[in-house]
Structure formats: structure tokens, C-alpha cells
């Protein structure tokens, strides 16, 4: 190159290629920790299922449905909210996000890739939990197909929240605490039937995105299913996912400056 020549600049990857590259980077982490993670995520929920099987009366169909739905969504909260918030918090604190920022990877690709990898990781544990729950509480296995839309949507919604927590927490330790508190909220608000809460907590329950996934699952296990209600719940999950992941992308673009 002569000193006066303008060097040729490199090209930018497509959004899909960039998302795929981030996904590959993060799913690799999941792969190395797959067995312990599956163990912790699923066995925590299965433990709660076993405990509550001993508590819930056999004729209390509604509570059984909510318990199975709540513990299934808890797996999603553990992985996509709690673990992802921790991971993003550490990546940000230790300069790991510089790798993506200096490559000008779109914020949307970082948010989507990270969320998708953790959602993928969550699915086996959630499916196992739902099957175990259905067998313990005599729920119809035939309705478990509802996991196919519910898990990706709740995974994306909670991963969006988890990514935001990781990006916004002033310290990564706070991201960890916030992720754990979020998971506790999902557990508490998810496995108790709505009508048993006082009015204020019912409002809080309505404000938590995981509620809509719990309701969609629990309602699908009912004898007579309100499919419109289930559809609305899924749309809410989708909307939360779009908003939180969009926000996470924007915050990522800003956070490295």
C-alpha cells in the first residue's frame, strides 16, 4: 500500500450472521456447563413439585395445574433470568462485551443471540419438569404440546429482562442479586393460584411477565380450555420479549461508551 492510498474497509455481517455468531459464543458456555445446569434447573423445580404433591389435595385440580405450570416456568426463570443476568453482568464488568462492541455487532444481535442461547439451554429442563409434573398431578400429557410456543416465548421474555438487568446493574454482584430476586418472584407468584393472593399482590402478579406463561400453561391443562385467553397470554409474552430485547439492544449500544 502506498502511503496515500485509502485502505479497503471490511464489510459488516448480516444481522442473522451476527446473531448466529453471538449465539454460538454463548451456547458454547452452556454446553460446557450443561449437565450441572440441567441438574440444578430441573431438580429444583422437581423438588418443589414433589413437596407440593404432598401438600395439595388430590381433588384440587386448579392448584395442581398452577403448580405444574409455575415450576415449569421457574426453570425458564432460573436459566434465562437469573443465570443470564449474572452472565451479562460479568461480561460487562470484565470487558467481555468490548469484543462485540469493537466488531460493531448490532445491539439487537447481541441481545437476541445471548437470549436465544440461554432459552435453548433452558428447554430440556423445562420439558422434563412439565412431564414429571403432569404425571404427579394427573394432567393430560396430550396438552403438553403447548410447551412448544410457551417455552421459547417465556424464555425470550425473561432473557430480555435478564439481559437488561445484567446491562443496567451498576455492579455485576447486583445483577446476580437482582436475577435471584426476580427468580424468587417468579416462583412465589407462579405456583400459588391467583385467587389466593390479596388484591395488591394480584396486581403485582399481573405485572410480572412470567405470569402470562404460567396462565397459558395452566389453562391449557384445564378440562375446558379458553383458547382465546391462552392466545392473549402468549401475545403478551411475545410483546414483553420484543420490548425487553429491543431495550437490551439499545442499552448495549449505549453501555460501552
Amino acid at each position: 500500500m502506498t502511503p496515500s492510498a485509502v485502505p479497503r474497509l471490511g464489510t459488516r455481517p448480516s444481522l442473522a450472521a451476527a446473531t448466529g455468531a453471538v449465539y454460538a459464543g454463548q451456547i458454547a458456555r452452556a454446553r460446557t456447563a450443561r449437565v450441572p445446569l440441567l441438574f440444578v434447573a430441573a431438580f429444583q423445580s422437581i423438588g418443589i413439585l414433589l413437596l407440593l404433591r404432598g401438600v395439595v389435595a388430590h381433588h384440587d385440580d386448579l392448584t395442581g395445574r398452577v403448580v405444574v405450570a409455575g415450576t415449569t416456568v421457574l426453570v425458564a426463570a432460573f436459566v434465562c433470568l437469573n443465570l443470564l443476568a449474572q452472565r451479562v453482568g460479568v461480561l460487562r464488568a470484565e470487558g467481555g462485551l468490548d469484543h462485540y462492541a469493537a466488531l460493531d455487532v448490532p445491539g439487537a444481535a447481541v441481545a437476541l443471540g445471548a437470549a436465544a442461547s440461554y432459552a435453548t439451554l433452558m428447554i430440556p429442563g423445562a420439558v422434563i419438569t412439565a412431564f414429571v409434573g403432569a404425571s404427579l398431578f394427573d394432567l393430560p400429557y396430550g396438552r403438553l404440546w403447548i410447551l412448544a410456543p410457551v417455552l421459547p416465548l417465556v424464555g425470550a421474555a425473561l432473557a430480555g429482562v435478564g439481559t437488561l438487568i445484567g446491562l443496567l446493574a451498576p455492579k455485576h454482584e447486583l445483577a446476580t442479586v437482582a436475577g435471584q430476586l426476580g427468580m424468587s418472584a417468579v416462583l412465589f407468584l407462579g405456583i400459588i393460584p391467583e385467587h389466593r393472593f390479596p388484591l395488591v399482590l394480584q396486581w403485582v402478579r399481573d405485572a410480572v411477565p412470567s405470569t402470562y406463561a404460567v396462565d397459558a400453561l395452566a389453562d391449557t391443562f384445564a378440562t375446558h380450555v379458553d383458547w382465546t385467553g391462552v392466545g392473549v397470554d402468549l401475545v403478551v409474552c411475545l410483546a414483553v420479549a420484543v420490548v425487553t430485547l429491543g431495550l437490551a439492544g439499545a442499552v448495549f449500544r449505549r453501555s460501552v461508551r
Binding site: 496515500s4 485509502v6 459488516r12 451476527a18 455468531a21 454460538a24 459464543g25 468490548d98 462492541a101
Partner: protein
Amino acid sequence: MDSLVVTGLVRRYDGVPVNDGIDLTVRAGEVFGLLGPNGAGKTTLVRQLVGLLRPDAGRISLLGRPVDRRLVAGAVAYLPQADLAIADLSVRRALETTAVLRGLGRSGARAVTAAILDELGLQSLADRQVGRLSGGQRRLAAFATVLAGERPVLVLDEPTTGLDPTSRRAVWAAIERRRAERGASVVLVTHNVLEAETVLDRVAVLDAGRVLACDTPGRLKARFGDALRLELVWRDEPPLGDLLVDELAARAVVLGRRWQLRLPAEEARSALAALTSGPALRALDDFTLATPSLEDVYVSLGSSADLERV
């Protein structure tokens, strides 16, 4: 065209300037070094060069245009100190995904990856996870990602920290090839004097956020005229009472049993000749007489910290 031009750059943290009025120019096809102790402001400076940090004042121009992230991504391959984003990937996968993020297709990324693994002697580690490699191997793998997807400017933050001498030379050779064959410009942060003297065309010495000096290593060393560095290491106690030893003691920087002196060449030679032919020789464990290094330049510029000498 100059690759990078920095003018009046200021960046503060909590009101304290970490970069305090930095001016420098990196020419096309040049290997330019930033030398300085920990905390000198080198990493803060390079993070601004690659658009990861916004300056509080001053301008940075990259290939003639104001720096922004889009321009940086097309023009610069950056090696940060942290490699957490690739730690869970295999070395091969880290290179391939980085190449894809630099706009290559799948097959192109695979071909580039194979070539780099070969160039840096990393084939045997290709399928190992980056985070499970030894410190030096891990740093070499991170450096390899910089080469995945060609860019006209390389910004490398301590690329050879922790590397063994063979790997370090492989990195230097790879940098030199990019410069010689493809006209790449390189900004290299180091606090290793040997690295600075071996690979840099020009070097800026930084301390406390300021550029203390900026020139070729040779010209910086020439500031010392004919001064030489004499280093004496005593077996046990130095033989004080010997006239010459007493005289040297008064002028030496004493570090335990090690004395460092900077003397005019003739005086240094005669002092060493007298020491090695007299009774003091029995008390001497080791001695060196050397031309000034960048470390001497650095110390003479009033830096507060020592550099690493390997």
C-alpha cells in the same frame, strides 16, 4: 494518509484525568508503540481509539475520518485485554465466529481460520476451549482472533503478555507480515522493553496520562549520548573500603545486592576494568555493561514506575 491522528485528547474518570492532552500520529504502514507502566493511561487511550470510550475533549481521526464504531469495525482489528467473550469457545470456533463478525462467509471464515492456526502454530490447540488453555496459550488464541478477517489497522493491547519466547516471536512475525505484505498499521500497547525495542518503528512513552516522549527507539536512546549502563551484582556484602567501590557506591542505585550505574562510556569501561582486575572481583557475583535501553530512556524521562524487562 496517516492511519490515526490524535489531537488534544482528554479523558477523565471521576474528575481525574487519565489521558491529559495527548497528541500523536500513527503513520500508514507503521508499527507504533505505546509504552508505559500500569496506570499510565494506555488502555484508556486505545479504548478511545477504537470507539469504545468517548473522549471528554480532543479529536481522533481514523484513516482521515472522525472515529466512530462503524468505521472502527471496518478498519480496525482490536485485541482487548479481556477475552471473556471467546473463553467458552474452541480456538477454531473463536476464530471462525470472529471472521464471520468481520463479514466473511462460512467457507471464507473456515479457510482464514485454517491459515491463521497454521501461521501461529496453534493447530494442536485448535479444538481446545480457550478458557481452559494456559495463560500464554490463551493470549495467543486471543491474538489469533485479531488476524481473522483482514483489517488495515491493528490495535493490540498487550498482545504478548504471558507468552513464552517462541510464541512471542510468532506474534511479532505475524505483525511484521501484516505490515510488510499488506501495509497494515499497528498500534501496540506494551510495558515490555524488549518488545518495544524489537518490533516498534516509533514509540510514545506515556506516564500519568501524558506523552513524555515520542520518537523511534533508536533516537530516544541516542538522547543518552555515549552513556552506558553498568550493573554490578555482589556475592554477599560489597567490599566497602575499596576506593573505587566506595566511589561507585555513592553514585549507584542500590537494589539489595544489585547496583545500577549510568556512566559516561569511557568511565564505565575503566571502572569495570579496574573492578575485574583488582581485589573487588572476588566479591562480584555478576556484572553487565550495556548500551542504554528504552528503560533508561524511560527512567530518565521521570517516570514513576519501572518497566518489565524480559
